[in-house]
């Protein structure tokens, strides 16, 4: 079934689109929003690709990402709020 690969490719294209906001974003907060969107898309496409490659063990990577990029986003937000 090639639908997984197709979905993943579409999500990669969406990531590129989100990058437009990262380039344009007038403020850092906007860029952070774009990063958050990319993060969500990456996790989703990792799950999808895990099914595409038919390898169970790959989904762990997605969990790690969902957990960890959150910390990065929090650090950036804390800095942005002037609290770090």
């Amino acid at each position: 079934m090639n639908c997984w690969m197709f979905t993943a490719s579409a999500m990669a294209a969406l990531m590129l689109l989100a990058m437009v906001r990262m380039v344009k974003g007038p403020t850092s907060a906007d860029r952070l929003v774009a990063l958050d969107a990319v993060n969500t898309l990456v996790v989703a496409s990792m799950i999808v690709l895990g099914a595409a490659f038919k390898q169970v063990v790959f989904v762990d990577v997605a969990i790690v990402y969902a957990l960890l990029s959150y910390v990065g986003a929090l650090f950036i937000a804390k800095y942005l709020g002037g609290e770090l």
């Binding site: 969500t40 937000a77 709020g81």
Partner: protein, 119 residues
Amino acid sequence: MILNILIWTALAIGLFFNTLGIVGILRFPDVYTRLHADTKATTFGSIFTSLAVILYAAATYFQTLDGQYATLALHAAVAVVVLAITNATAAHAIARAAHRRGHKPVQAVVDRLEEHNQP
């Protein structure tokens, strides 16, 4: 067959909402509204794409009774739950940081937080 249709539908819905979220990020005028588009639409879309994976894995598990597909489904579910919670909290943190930084909501009709912070 029905399974295939379900998977396709879930993927399509997921992709649709993801696209919508990205378009929202590009179109909306300020941080808060962009966050609306980002957090909700992309999370919702990702839930649906992952739902497709979970459906696929669960169906295969019940066909073959192979433990690895149960693992796949469970891990995907865990990832989605984690993603939803972290996204919500991260959106809150970003919005608060932006507000503390002094980004006013564009076209806002009311801003109670501003009043709360500076009585």
